[in-house]
Structures are given as structure tokens and as C-alpha cells.
Amino acid sequence: MTLLKPAFGRALGWVTLAALVVLALFGLWGAPPDAVQGDAQRLMYLHVPAAWIAYLAFGITALASGLWLWPRTRSMVWDRVAGASAELGVLFTALTLVLGALWGRPVWGVWWAWDARLVTTAVLFFLYVGYLALRQVPTSPEARARRCAIAALIAFVDVPIVHFSVTWWRTLHQQATVFDPSLKANIHGVMAFTLWFGALAFTLLYVYLLDRRYRLAALEEGRDDRELDVAIAERVAGAGTPEARRPSGSVEAPAGVSR
């Protein structure tokens, strides 16, 4: 039911928590304030790792979707991993957007700028929000897995094209106006460490959350064979109804099945 051994998962939880605390200490006090931006720059230690982990999460979604589609490795495990990872990816993308907006306010004076990277991030967000909406549509687990796996790959294929189109849009006509690439040029040693440590902490967080989310999905689907045996026994006894064992109501065959 879980990706990690339960004991390991619990331990990972504590380690993650500790790492986040350390990150907070370093981010708030360990690292020096930025010469230009002052304390606002401390948001970097969350913003950048969040963005990286979002990429990682979508990559894992694509990988798991591919593994589901590949007949030899087909297993509901991959479907759940894909779904869980996409949710986390959307979460971390949202975090990137929110933190970026919070950062942009003091630094740029606006919440949002029509910079290429910002727009691609937003489109990425909506690509996978759509994917999650698709996951919520009631169908049978297998049908959902197939649809979503293909949709995840279609979305993933689109990411580089979106990236290019948006970047070209900016560069072919005029240069980016607000985004200041010189920011990362002379990054202080402690700052660099904090950033890398942030990436590590967020990776741990990602793995931990993925495991939790996976477990929840597995529980919701509740299709381990013992439970199925009970369902079959009920059905054969004429007692089971399609609704009886359904906690969430999220699984349903498509309209038309029984017409």
C-alpha cells in the first residue's frame, strides 16, 4: 500500500521536518542578506527549490505514465504514482508562482510580469491542472489510468514547445525587460549552500509527500484482493450494491455502460 516501508516512511517524515527546520534557520539567519534586494531575496531558498521539485514531479509523472502504458510494466502502482506526483507538481508549481509573486512585489514592484519564464510556468501549471481535472472525472480505474497516462504524455511533450514558443515570443521581438539574469551571477558561498540544502530538503519533502499521497490513493481505490473477495461474496449473495462499499464515490464506469 505504500511506496516506502512504513517505518522508513515515518523516519523520512522526521528527517524531512528536521531538514526544513535547518533550511529555515539557514535561510532566515545563516545566509547573509542580499546586497541589492535585502531580506526579500531570502525567498529564493524556497522559490527556486520549489520550481526544481515541480519539474522533477512532472518528470516522474511522465515516467510513471510511460511505465503504465508499456505493457510489460503495466501496473496500477504507476497510475497512482503518476497521479500523486502530478498533484505534488501542481502544488509546487503553485508554490513557485506564489513565492515568485511575493518576491516580485518588493523587487519589481509588481506581482506579475509578462516574462517568458513566468508565463511558461503558468501554462505548465494549467497543463497539469487540466490533467488533475481529468483524473477527477469518474470512470473505472483502468479507463482512468489509460486516459490519464496518455494525457500526461501529451502534456509533457507540449512542455518544450510551450517553452520555445514563449521564449521566442519574448526574444524575437524585444529583450526581456524585467527579469534580471545577473542575480545569480555572484552568489555567496553560504547562499549557495542554503540553496542546495533547500533543494535537498524539498526533495525529501517531495518523496515523503509522494509516499503519503500514494498510500491515500491506494486506500481510496481499495482494491486489494481481500476486499475484492468480500465484494464478490456480497455480490454472489445478492447483497452487494454498486454503492455499498464506496467511501469517496470517485470511481464509476462511464455513462453508457449499462444502457
Partner: protein, 224 residues
């Protein structure tokens, strides 16, 4: 029957239905024109702005009209459980995909032709170099028809089809929106050399998604 004969059978069926019901012509097309007008209206007919943003408006409008056209293409497949019949038809899914996408593309081309007239008229836009403009439009149309047909079938058996397709499709076709808009801008400005990279991008998008569609249509057509 080979792949193309099957595609022709399907496209013929769809176009015949359109010829009878005239939904694209009598409903989707006016919708596009109204949207164009409303945009012009909402964006403050401060002429200068309008003319500059005309290509963007045009392509946004085309995408919205395409959403309706695709909705229609699959509403036809949803009546009387036709989607099951398609599954059972024994037609090659790749042929089905090509046929349906071709029918949508034909409808979109007609739509775009009229809307182009609308833009030229309403927004007082002159077209500098027609060649790149037409090429870009064709590549964009193929891309939109392919992705639309693909997402359409993905949602075809679902009760939420009407609302699901737009939210899935729009982010995916955003490169088409950008590429086609830029290509149009270049073509209108009479600077075809600026248009070519975008036409390249649009073509890659189109080819890619036609290929993906031919592969993925089969599995997506299955309900489980």
C-alpha cells in the same frame, strides 16, 4: 480498405452530417464573428490598439470557435451511443483519427477564411505578404484539428465532455496561439522572414500531434 480510404469514409460521414445540419456554418461561424466583434468592443475601439493586436484577437477567436467545432464533432458521436458503435466498427483507429481531424480541419479552414475577412474589415488590417500568412494558418489549423480531435475522443464517452475538452485543450494549444499570432504579425507587416521560424514551430507542432494522434487515438477510444 486501407488507412486513407477509412479516413475518407469517416471524413465523408462527418462532412455529410455537417452539410445536413450546417452547425459549423450557421452556429460556430457566427459565434466566431460575434466574439471578434465583442473583443473589439471590450478592448475599446481605440483604433490604434486594435489594429496592432488584431492577429492575437484573430487567433484567440479561432481557438474559441475551434472549441465549439470540436464539441460539435463529438456531440455527433455521443448521440445514440455512437461512440460504442465506433469502437465496434472495426475501423482502424488511425484512420478514424485522420478522418475526424480532416473533417474538423476543413471546417476550421472555412471558418478562418471568413474570420480573416472579418478582421480585415473590422480592424482595418492590410495583409503584407499572403504566402506566409496562408502557410502559417494551415499549419496552425492542422495542429488545432489534431489536438482537438485527440482530446475530443479522450472525453467522448464522458458526461462532462463539453466542459472537459476546453480546459484540457487550451493550455496544450497555447504554442499555436503564440506562433500563429507572431507569424500573422510578421505577414501583416510584410516581413516574411520573421514569419518563417514561427511557421516552422507550427509545422513541428502539427506533425508531432498528428503522429501522436494516430498512435494514441486507439487506446483513447477504448473506454477502459
Amino acid at each position: 480498405m486501407n488507412l486513407f480510404q477509412e479516413a475518407a469514409l469517416v471524413a465523408g460521414k462527418d462532412l455529410r452530417i455537417e452539410a445536413r445540419a450546417r452547425v459549423t456554418l450557421q452556429q460556430v461561424l457566427p459565434f466566431g464573428l460575434i466574439v471578434l466583434l465583442l473583443f473589439a468592443f471590450a478592448l475599446d475601439p481605440d483604433r490604434g490598439v486594435l489594429r496592432r493586436v488584431a492577429p492575437g484577437l484573430f487567433w484567440v477567436t479561432v481557438l474559441l470557435a475551434a472549441l465549439l467545432a470540436i464539441s460539435r464533432a463529438y456531440s455527433v458521436e455521443s448521440e445514440n451511443g455512437a461512440i460504442d458503435a465506433l469502437r465496434m466498427s472495426g475501423l482502424d483507429p488511425a484512420g478514424l483519427f485522420l478522418g475526424k481531424a480532416a473533417a474538423v480541419a476543413v471546417e476550421l479552414v472555412v471558418l478562418e477564411a471568413v474570420l480573416t475577412g472579418g478582421v480585415v474589415l473590422f480592424f482595418d488590417v492590410g495583409i503584407g505578404s499572403l504566402g506566409p500568412l496562408v502557410l502559417a494558418s494551415i499549419a496552425a489549423t492542422v495542429g488545432v484539428a489534431a489536438t482537438g480531435t485527440l482530446y475530443g475522443v479522450l472525453a467522448a464517452g464522458l458526461r462532462v465532455r463539453e466542459t472537459l475538452v476546453p480546459v484540457l485543450l487550451l493550455p496544450v494549444v497555447s504554442p499555436v496561439l503564440l506562433g500563429a499570432t507572431r507569424a500573422w504579425e510578421a505577414a501583416i507587416d510584410g516581413a516574411p522572414s520573421d514569419a518563417w521560424p514561427w511557421i516552422g514551430l507550427l509545422s513541428i507542432f502539427a506533425v508531432l500531434y498528428v503522429a501522436v494522434g494516430m498512435l494514441a487515438f486507439g487506446p483513447l477510444l477504448e473506454e477502459a
